[in-house]
C-alpha cells in the first residue's frame, strides 16, 4: 500500500484490474486503491505475472502492506511474506506490490528512475515520450536513442486510431492548455459544484451607461462586465465566508477580494487579476480590467498579475449564450458566468413588458457554501446591479 500524501496511513483496495496469473508489464495499471482523498491507479513495478494471494477488494490495509506479487514465470512469492500480504499487515518499507528478487524485476521494483542514456532522454523529451514505457536494449537494459526512435515510430503508427476513432492530427498540448486541462479536470472531479442562475434587470445600469457614453471620456468604456465584477466583489466582501477555499480539512478565508477576469487569448484562457476589486472605484476597476486584458492578449502579464484571484468572472455574452454551468477556478469557491444582455419579454404588474436583462450563472464550491448561503450572495449581486448606486462611489469625482 503506497503512501499518497503525507497524512495517509491506510488505504482501501477498490478493485484489481488484472487477474491473478495474468502477465503485466512495468507501468501497467493493476489495481485501484482509495485513500481518504482520492482513488488512485496502482501501476506494476515490474514485468512479470501477477501472483496471489492478493488483498481482497474493499479490504483496508496500512501503508506499506503487501497487496500482491509480481513474479517471474515459474516463481512463486515467499510463503511467509505471502501470508502476511493476505492478512493485510504492514511489512515496513515494503513496496505496495512486491517483486521477487532477481533479475531486472527486482532492480526496477522500487525505483521510479528509468535507466536511459542522456541522449535518449533528450530525444524522448523532444518527442513527448515517456521513457518509463520504453524497453531498453542497451547495456544492462539502458534505454538508448535507438530505442526512443523505435518507440517514437510505433507511437506514430498507433496514432491512426484513438479508442476506435480515426485521428486526423495529434499534437502535444501547449503548456498553457495543458495546465488549464489539468486544472479544470481537478476542479470538475474534485469540487462539488452548485450553480445558481438568476436574471438581472438592467434598466438603471443601461441608463447610466447611456449617459456615460454620451458624455464620452473614460467612463464611456465601462462595461456591464465591469459592473458585474464590482458587484460580485462587493457582495463577497459583505459575505467573507464565501471569499474562501477548502484546504484538506480546513476552510481558509482569503484576506483580499481579488477578481479574476477570464480572457480568451491565442495561447489559451488566461485569468489576470484585478486586486482588491471590492475597494476599487468602478472607473478605476474598468481601466485596470482593460489594461490587464490587453496585456493578456499581447502576452505581457507580470507573474503577480496572474494566479491570485479569489473569485472569477467569465463572460460569453458576446456569443449570445444565455446561461451556463461554469467550472470553478481552483482554489476559488465562486465563479460568475455572465450571459448575453438582451431585451426580453417579462411580466411586470400583471402585464408583458420589455426589459433589458442578463442571466448570471454563478458556480459555488458546495463544501464552502450551502445553497442558502450561496443564494444570499447571488441575490445580493442582483440587487447591486439593479440598484447600482453603491457601485458608483467615487465615480463622479473621478470622471
Amino acid at each position: 500500500m503506497p503512501r499518497i500524501g503525507h497524512s495517509m496511513t491506510e488505504g482501501t483496495l477498490v478493485a484489481w484490474r488484472v487477474a491473478a496469473g495474468a502477465a503485466v508489464r512495468a507501468g501497467d495499471v493493476v489495481a485501484v486503491i482509495e485513500t481518504d482523498k482520492a482513488e488512485v491507479e496502482l501501476e506494476s513495478p515490474a514485468d512479470g505475472l501477477l501472483a496471489g494471494p492478493l488483498l481482497a477488494p474493499n479490504e483496508v490495509a496500512p501503508v506499506g502492506a503487501v497487496l500482491g506479487w509480481v513474479v517471474a514465470p515459474g516463481e512463486s512469492p515467499p510463503p511467509e511474506q505471502a501470508s502476511r500480504a493476505a492478512a493485510g499487515r504492514a511489512a515496513p518499507g515494503a513496496p505496495a506490490i512486491a517483486a521477487t528478487p532477481g533479475g531486472d524485476a527486482a532492480s526496477a521494483s522500487t525505483s521510479r528512475r528509468v535507466r536511459a542514456s542522456p541522449r535518449a532522454r533528450r530525444l524522448a523529451q523532444e518527442r513527448g515520450l515517456d521513457l518509463a514505457r520504453i524497453a531498453g536494449s542497451g547495456p544492462e537494459g539502458l534505454v538508448t536513442e535507438a530505442d526512443v526512435e523505435r518507440a517514437s515510430r510505433r507511437a506514430e503508427e498507433a496514432s491512426d486510431l484513438f479508442a476506435g476513432r480515426r485521428v486526423a492530427e495529434r499534437r502535444r498540448l501547449e503548456p498553457l492548455r495543458r495546465a488549464s486541462a489539468r486544472r479544470t479536470t481537478e476542479a470538475w472531479t474534485r469540487i462539488p459544484h452548485i450553480v445558481q442562475m438568476i436574471d438581472v434587470e438592467l434598466v438603471r445600469l443601461e441608463a447610466l451607461r447611456g449617459e456615460w457614453k454620451r458624455a464620452g471620456g473614460a467612463r464611456a468604456g465601462i462595461t456591464l462586465n465591469d459592473a458585474v465584477v464590482k458587484a460580485a466583489a462587493v457582495a463577497l466582501a459583505e459575505h467573507p465566508e464565501l471569499n474562501a477555499a477548502v484546504d484538506g480539512d480546513e476552510l481558509l478565508r482569503f484576506a483580499d477580494v481579488n477578481a479574476g477576469i477570464a480572457v480568451e487569448t491565442a495561447r489559451g484562457l488566461l485569468v489576470p487579476v484585478v486586486a482588491r476589486a471590492d475597494r476599487l472605484p468602478l472607473l478605476e476597476l474598468s481601466l485596470e480590467r482593460r489594461r490587464l486584458a490587453e496585456k493578456a492578449r499581447t502576452g505581457g502579464l507580470a507573474p503577480d498579475e496572474l494566479g491570485t484571484s479569489t473569485f472569477t468572472v467569465s463572460n460569453l455574452g458576446g456569443f449570445g449564450i444565455r446561461a451556463g454551468t461554469p467550472v470553478l477556478n481552483p482554489p476559488e469557491a465562486v465563479l460568475v458566468f455572465v450571459g448575453a444582455a438582451e431585451e426580453r419579454a417579462v411580466v411586470r404588474d400583471g402585464a408583458l413588458a420589455i426589459r433589458p436583462l442578463v442571466t448570471l450563472s454563478i458556480a459555488y464550491d458546495h463544501r464552502v457554501a450551502d445553497g442558502a448561503q450561496a443564494a444570499r450572495v447571488t441575490a445580493r449581486i442582483r440587487q447591486l446591479l439593479e440598484e447600482p448606486s453603491p457601485l458608483l462611489a467615487g465615480l463622479e469625482a473621478s470622471a
Binding site: S117, R119, A120, S137, G138, P139, L142, T144, A146
Partner: protein, 325 residues
Amino acid sequence: MSGTRSLSYGEAIREALAEEMRRDPGVILYGEDVAVYGGIFRVLAGLREEFGERVFDTPISENLIVGAAVGAAMAGLRPVAELQFADFVYCAADEIVLKCGTWRYAHDGAFRLPLVIRAASGGYGFGPEHSQCPEAFLMHQPGIRLAVPSTPDDAKGLLKTAIRSDDPVVFLEHKLLYGVKGEVPDGEHLTSFGRARVRRSGDALTIVAWQDMLRRVLAAAERLAADGIEVEVIDPVTLNPFDRETILGSVRRTGGCLVVEEAYRTLGVGAEIGALLMEQAFGDLDKPLRRLAIPDVPVPTAQHLVEALVPSVDDVVRAVRELVG
C-alpha cells in the same frame, strides 16, 4: 618529393634523428648504451659514426640524464636523451616532473627547454619494472609535451617536430612497434602535435587507442565491419597537447566511447577521457563509457600472463558488441 618509402618504426626514428642532427648542430644524442651499441633496441646504428662526440654514452644515472638535458637546453643545445625503458621515467621523476615541467615556469619563462626524452614503453617479457606505459603519469604534469607515435610515419614526423619544439617532450616508443613497417613520406616530413588522427571512420562507436593497442583495435574493427558494425578509431598522436575536440566531435556523432590502453586502469588516460565526456558531451552520450586497460596488478614477465592482462583483439570485439548491441 611526393613519394613514400617503406620503413620500420625503428628506422623512421633513426632517420628523424639523423636528419635533425644534420640540420641543426645543436642537437645532441645521449643515454645509456647509445653511442657504440646504438641504443638498447639498436635503432641508432651509424649515428655515432656520422656525428662523433654529439652522440655519447652516459652512466646509469637517470637523474643526470634528464637533468643534464634541462641544463644543456637552457644553455641553447637541443638534447635528445634516451631513458631506454619508459619505467625509468620514475627514476628521473624529479627531473621530468619538476625540472622539465616547472623550471621554465618557476623562472617565469627566462629559459626555453628544447629537449626530448625518448623512452621505450609497453610490450612483454621484460617484467614489472621494464614494461610500463606511463602516459597517464606524464599527461598529469603541466609543462611536458607527450608524444605517442603509432606508425613509422608518425614516429618520424613527431620526433622531428619534438626536436624542433622549444618545450620538453617525452617521446614514448612502443617496443612491439620497432620492427613494424609502414609507408613514410619522402623528404621533409613533420607531424603536428595536438592533432589526433581518425584511423578509421564509423558511426557505431568511438574508440580511442594508440600504439600497440591501436593495432589491436584496428584488427578488431575489421572483424566488426564484417558484421556491419563500423566503429570510429581515433589515434590521439600526442597526449599533451591533447586533441579533445576530435574526440568530442566523434562522440557527439557516435554517442559512445571506448578507450583501450596498455596501462593500469585506475586514473588512466581512459579515466581522463571519461571525465572529459561527462563534462563536455554528457547530453550526447547514448552508451556508458567503457575502458579496456590492465587491471590494477603489475605487468608480469611471461608473455601468456601479460596477454591475460592486456586488452586483446577479442576483448575489443566483445566490448564493442556489448555496447553497440
